[in-house]
């Protein structure tokens, strides 16, 4: 009787297990589920894991492209590459942002990381330090390739003397001005220096309108263009030291200028989390200026309406120049290869191919700014209505410190500036304290 019952239980579990295997449509244990093409995309079948498995190499590629961008990836990039390299198949997976780092960690820890990934530039030094990424400067043709790419974005792959990825696409922020508000203060062209911007903001405030300096928050991505342009520096050129740089007289001066602006009420409410948010304020013709990346245009272009048409109602300019010129912050994604990959050669082939002129041009159609210098200066690309200023800004844009501890560094920096803006500390003390804390971290 006991046996019969045990058998029943086991049988039930077995049935469930079989149902489980059966219901994933025969995908079984391999990840040969095939890319999720939007219906088109020639070679996008899961047939690659069939009998020709011996010959064909399947590369796992994780990305975080948005819908529109993924479409181009699947419909143009993938077929093009696979035609040129018939022995390699791309298995492309789109990943959501929430919990992404956890996914990468789980993948690496479990030995199940993909071959390639389009990774936020900030993560590259961190994963490089762990030993999770392949060094690419030792691979075939690296030097020639490097010469064809923008220096700024390339440097975001640098760690401890080596390069751990290729810059896949880059972006930066430029100043975006609302035409209506601009005209209301009697200007037909946007301000070009910080001083001018501050004056215009003063004028706006006097007129009872919302202020005009568009710093969007107390975090590095928002602050650095202003900090740098006003003469501030985070580290030395080698990214190894903050003492004497973050707390240099120039840096202190830069933050003091920003603090003074805030004191006078010249910075938009969004800086400390107030409303309207930057996009909102621009769309409702309430903000004079915000800064943002090219996605501001690529996303809002599809939503043009009578009240707000992003191409019609805004004009762009470089980040206003301060004593140190006009410097914006580099963002973007790098293409990295994981050390656990069993197909380093093929992965490198794909990586190099993606940095070639043609693929870069293709991705540029959806607003991905190429890191390939030639592709970025293509007339057709520059003709994209909003691109010109971005490419120009890239020439002087600076990377955030490519250091595995950037996350913590940034936290300290953000806190210091926030304290100053909230009036909880004076600039010198805050920056000195921050410098101390960061130095302690860098020494670990």
């Amino acid at each position: 009787m006991l046996k019969r019952m045990m058998l029943t239980v086991l049988a039930v579990m077995l049935v469930l297990a079989i149902a489980a295997c059966g219901s994933d449509g025969g995908n079984g244990n391999s990840s040969g589920g095939g890319p999720s093409s939007a219906g088109s995309g020639g070679s996008g079948s899961s047939g690659g894991s069939g009998g020709q498995a011996a010959k064909k190499v399947v590369l796992e590629y994780w990305h975080t492209y948005s819908d529109a961008e993924e479409k181009v990836l699947l419909e143009e990039i993938k077929p093009l590459f696979e035609t040129e390299h018939p022995n390699i198949e791309l298995n492309i997976t789109r990943m959501p942002y929430e919990g992404l780092k956890q996914q990468v960690i789980a993948g690496v820890a479990g030995g199940a990381a993909p071959d390639l990934m389009r990774m936020d530039i900030i993560w590259v030094p961190e994963f490089a330090k762990l030993g999770a990424l392949q060094k690419v400067n030792e691979l075939d043709g690296f030097e020639e390739l490097k010469a064809q790419l923008f220096e700024g974005p390339m440097s975001t792959n640098y760690y401890n003397g080596d390069y751990y990825g290729l810059p896949l696409n880059t972006n930066t922020k430029v100043a975006i001005y609302n035409k209506k508000v601009l005209e209301s203060v009697g200007l037909s062209n946007p301000p070009t220096t910080m001083q001018e911007l501050a004056d215009v903001s003063r004028q706006l405030v006097k007129d009872g309108k919302l202020p005009g300096i568009g710093i969007s928050g107390v975090h590095a991505w928002a602050l650095l263009p202003y900090f740098w342009s006003l003469g501030g520096k985070l580290t030395n050129d080698d990214f190894s030291q903050v003492e004497g740089y973050l707390n240099s007289p120039e840096s202190i001066q830069a933050v003091e200028t920003i603090a003074a602006w805030h004191e006078e009420g010249l910075i938009i409410p969004a800086v400390l989390g107030g409303e309207p948010s930057t996009w909102d304020g621009m769309k409702k013709h309430e903000y004079l200026m915000i800064d943002d990346g090219p996605w501001f245009y690529s996303i809002l272009m599809g939503e043009a309406s009578e009240e707000f048409d992003v191409l019609r109602d805004t004009v762009r300019g470089l980040i206003p120049a301060g004593p140190a010129g006009s410097h914006s912050v580099i963002g973007g994604e790098n293409l990295v290869i994981f050390t656990g990959s069993k197909h380093t050669e093929e992965a490198w082939t794909f990586a190099r191919w993606m940095l070639g002129e043609e693929p870069q041009k293709i991705m540029s159609k959806v607003g991905m700014i190429p890191t390939n210098i030639k592709a970025a200066n293509e007339p057709t690309f520059l003709e994209v209505p909003y691109m010109k200023e971005y490419v120009e800004q890239l020439e002087t844009a600076l990377p955030r410190t490519p250091n595995p501890q950037w996350g913590e560094m940034e936290g300290i920096f953000n806190l210091a500036v926030e304290k100053v803006l909230r009036g909880e500390s004076d600039v010198t003390t805050a920056l000195n304290q921050a410098t101390q804390q960061i130095e302690a971290i860098l020494k670990e």
Partner: protein, 324 residues
């Protein structure tokens, strides 16, 4: 033969460790296991593999300088991770502990009070549609944490266009300027508390409703005959009768407040600046953003230990829910 008839062997005399009685005990033990095993086997197996084994790994990692790389050598660092938790210049762990206590302190009494309050009201004789009220009050509980957290973030958005600000500032004029709810520590904590209470109070309501329905009506009738008013009836009949339930409810409310994770993670991600973190969310951030697995594990072990100590005495009561 039912298992319950088995325990007839006298314990005292035979329990002096003679080999014969030991053999009898062994055989009996094995026989008992034999009976129970088919039912327990899969459950114990599943738990061992997917819960206990990770838990042990967790404990081990807390003593190591752990790297996620599969081939890395994880050096044994003893109590370093634990020490760091307390010596951290930013006091992240201590802040998390403080927040956990604040969460318990603020949400449990309010949660409890509202549960009793609403249950008593719904239970009143003249109230109709009791089932409808109960269904609606319980509704937030069964909705997804992630979805509702995002909804609450939306409702409590800063500036005058977040709905709550719109209500309080534009419509009612109760505050002098819109509040940056998630920008400041205290207001962010209030949002977390309100979210937690909103989402979980229904549970207490249902429990108390069931308990109230178990109080015999004649008690109330007798009291009425004696001239007791509604309030007096409440104080002298209702409250005492709810005693045991209340203990049960309070234990579970405290446990729930201890385990707050999605409320923090999906509303503030522990911000601003790691100030609203509680231990589980701090663990997650440390592990999956900063790669500090050893530190995160140490925190989890300490928290588990604390909870274990606190509830050890209560375990029997929770395990056998005979409350009437």
């Amino acid at each position: 033969m039912s298992a319950t008839n088995r325990d007839q062997l006298p314990r005292g005399a035979a329990g002096r460790g003679t080999s014969a009685s030991a053999y009898i005990h062994l055989r009996r033990g094995l026989r008992q296991w034999g009976e129970a095993l088919p039912y327990l086997a899969l459950g114990v197996l599943g738990t061992s593999v997917f819960v206990i084994y990770p838990m042990i790994q967790n404990i081990l990692i807390s003593f190591q300088d752990y790297s996620i790389m599969p081939n890395a050598v994880n050096t044994w660092v003893g109590l370093d991770n634990y020490r760091y938790a307390f010596e951290d210049p930013n006091q992240k762990f201590l802040i998390a502990i403080r927040n956990t206590f604040l969460n318990v302190l603020f949400t449990v009494p309010i949660n409890w009070f509202l549960a009793v309050f609403f249950a008593v009201l719904i239970n009143m004789q003249f109230v109709r549609f009791k089932l409808v009220f109960r269904t609606i009050y319980y509704l937030p509980i069964i909705t997804s944490w992630i979805v509702v957290a995002f909804l609450f973030r939306f409702l409590f958005a800063s500036g005058e266009y977040g709905f709550i600000n719109y209500l309080l500032y534009t419509k009612l004029g109760w505050i002098s300027e819109p509040i940056g709810w998630l920008q400041n520590y205290w207001t962010a904590m209030i949002v977390i508390w309100l979210f937690h209470i909103w989402k979980t109070v229904g549970w207490g309501v249902v429990i108390y409703l069931a308990a109230l329905q178990g109080i015999p009506l004649d008690l109330y009738e007798a009291a009425e005959i004696d001239g007791a008013g509604a309030v007096q009836q409440f104080r002298h009949i209702t409250l005492p009768m709810l005693g045991p339930v209340t203990i049960f409810v309070l234990i579970n409310l405290v446990n729930g407040a201890f385990n707050i994770f999605p409320q923090v993670y999906f509303i503030t991600k522990g911000g601003p600046m790691d100030q609203t973190q509680v231990i589980p969310s701090l663990m997650y951030t440390q592990a999956f953003t900063n790669f500090n697995f050893g530190y995160a594990s140490a925190m989890s072990v300490m928290m588990g230990f604390a909870v274990f100590l606190l509830t050890y005495t209560q375990m029997k009561k929770i395990g056998q829910q005979r409350l009437l």
